[in-house]
Amino acid sequence: MTEDRKKNNQSANDQDMMKLVDNLNRKEDVNLNRRAFLKASFGTTVALGLATTPFGVISAVRSEKEDSNQVEIASVDELAIGEAKNFNYPTEDEPAVLVRTPDDRYVAYNNKCTHLQCPVFYEKKDNVLLCPCHKGYFDVNNGHPVAGPPQRELPKILLEVKDGKVLAVGREYRHG
């Protein structure tokens, strides 16, 4: 009786072993191992590292173009204190506003609201830049949002006053 049982157990074990062998996929076992994993990780590291270079090259080309872009916006006496003038900078598709502030300084910003791209206007009475679409207010001195839905500052146009002319010489997206 016990002999039969032993034989039965033996054959069951053999069956189980055969199942285990059937479950082995030799190709996967060879390909997915520690060495292959490290090689794949190294390949990914190199690919990610090299993927940064096209962004760097395009940035260099773009910043070169923007650096050389100097545009005359207005003459010094064209705007009275508290007045504003619209212009386009650095391209014709990018509207901007030049303001002569009450403390007699020139400031300029791209005047697309950073909320939903509506045009921003200068409000002399409150000395703020106002986006009328959703009542977004920006500080005229630094272009940062002070009220309403906008979260980011307006891009700042860098200015130079030379020979009685106000010139736009560059642009900063993030500024103090």
Binding site: S41, F42, F55, R62
Partner: protein, 65 residues
């Protein structure tokens, strides 16, 4: 820790550095902060170079025997 283990683990550190650098480069690129793009690109390239050195060091040790 032996040389082989250090090389092995450092590749994963460089992988993490490159993931972060690439995300910062893309962020800087679309935010038009070109200064950030250059800095993180340089970090990524240096990290890639070091990862290459680490990989060949590991390979030399791994296949020595």
């Amino acid at each position: 820790m032996d040389k082989k283990r250090v090389s092995f683990l450092s590749i994963f550190v460089f992988l993490a550095i490159n993931v972060i650098s690439l995300s910062k480069v893309i962020e800087g690129f679309y935010g038009k902060e070109y200064g950030h793009v250059y800095s993180f690109m340089i970090v990524a390239l240096i990290s890639t170079g070091l990862a290459t050195i680490a990989f060949f060091t590991w390979r030399k040790q791994e296949y020595k025997s």
